[in-house]
Amino acid sequence: MTTAEKYVTAAYLVFLAALLLYVVIIALKVGRLEHELTDLARLAREKLGG
């Protein structure tokens, strides 16, 4: 691979890495939201369902 090709590939890989990192962060967030939601569902059942 020539030097130019190496750098160009690096640039595209940086982009890909950033995108995947973002996906990971969103996945973590969704997990956290899900956890919070189940917690609140339990709380609601306790308070209202009896």
Partner: protein
């Protein structure tokens, strides 16, 4: 704390415009956009790397242009979107624009960081240094990037509420005023203080390059749009869950 009355489709009490990208796009709109982003981006990069001719002067290293410039334009578009939402917040005093503006600024800063990194890599190939003050677009971008990074400092250090929403909105609006002013500033600075190196803007782009570029740009904008919707949904869910917790506790 901004009140968000929970209704079935997540709309707040106020009637919004028909094409309300932030709230009403729903699952179908968001997934169409994401699919479009995937198709356009993959297609665009394929066109750029396989089909478009190699630049006579710069050789293969010019191929970064298909990534760097769409990312930069997408960042600018995100900031413009944020300013539009900020303006809507100030004129309608509707709290929902606050999250939309904030998410758009976040998008802009993420794409902005990518712009600086890819620009730096391009500078390294072209001139051997990781940074070049002579590269006008990059310098302009740095100023704008610094400005919007400070946005987060402002947000994190202010208590949530209408005050923070309005301050953030005013600041986001100042940002778009700063962009043309800085452009002018960097331009005249080049004449006397920091000599401008010949930038990458070629005189006439061959139509194949232009087409590949356009597809990449469309892909990048769609990508930003999809990520924006995803992040906005997450933030809205956060707020709704917090309200719910307050109701139950």
């Amino acid at each position: 704390m901004s009140t968000s009355s929970l209704s079935e489709d997540g709309r707040t009490g106020k009637a919004g415009p028909a094409f309300d990208f932030g709230v009403a796009s729903g699952r179908r709109g968001a997934s169409t956009l994401a699919l479009a982003a995937a198709g356009l981006l993959v297609g665009g990069i394929a066109l750029a790397l396989y089909w478009a001719p190699e630049d006579a002067d710069q050789g293969f290293s010019q191929k970064i242009f298909y990534l760097h410039v769409p990312v930069a334009l997408t960042a600018y578009a995100s900031f413009a979107w944020a300013a539009w939402k900020a303006f809507r917040l100030l004129s309608t005093r509707d709290s929902r624009y606050d999250l939309e503006s904030y998410t758009a600024v976040h998008m802009g800063v993420i794409f902005g960081l990518l712009t600086l990194v890819t620009g730096s890599i391009w500078a390294k190939i072209s001139w051997g240094h990781w940074w070049s003050w002579g590269e006008r677009q990059l310098v302009l971008f740095l100023i704008v990037f610094l400005f919007y990074s400070a946005y987060f400092m402002l947000r994190y250090s202010t208590e949530p509420g209408p005050r923070r929403e309005r301050n953030s909105a005013v600041y986001a609006l100042f940002g778009v005023a700063l962009i043309p002013v800085s452009f002018l500033a960097v331009r005249i600075a080049g004449t006397i203080l920091h000599p401008t190196v010949f930038t990458h803007e070629g005189a006439n782009l061959p139509w194949e390059m232009f087409l590949a570029f356009c597809v990449c740009l469309a892909g990048m904008l769609s990508l930003a749009g999809s990520l924006y919707l995803a992040e906005l949904a997450g933030k809205r869910a956060d707020v709704a869950l917090r309200d719910l917790r307050e109701l139950l506790a």
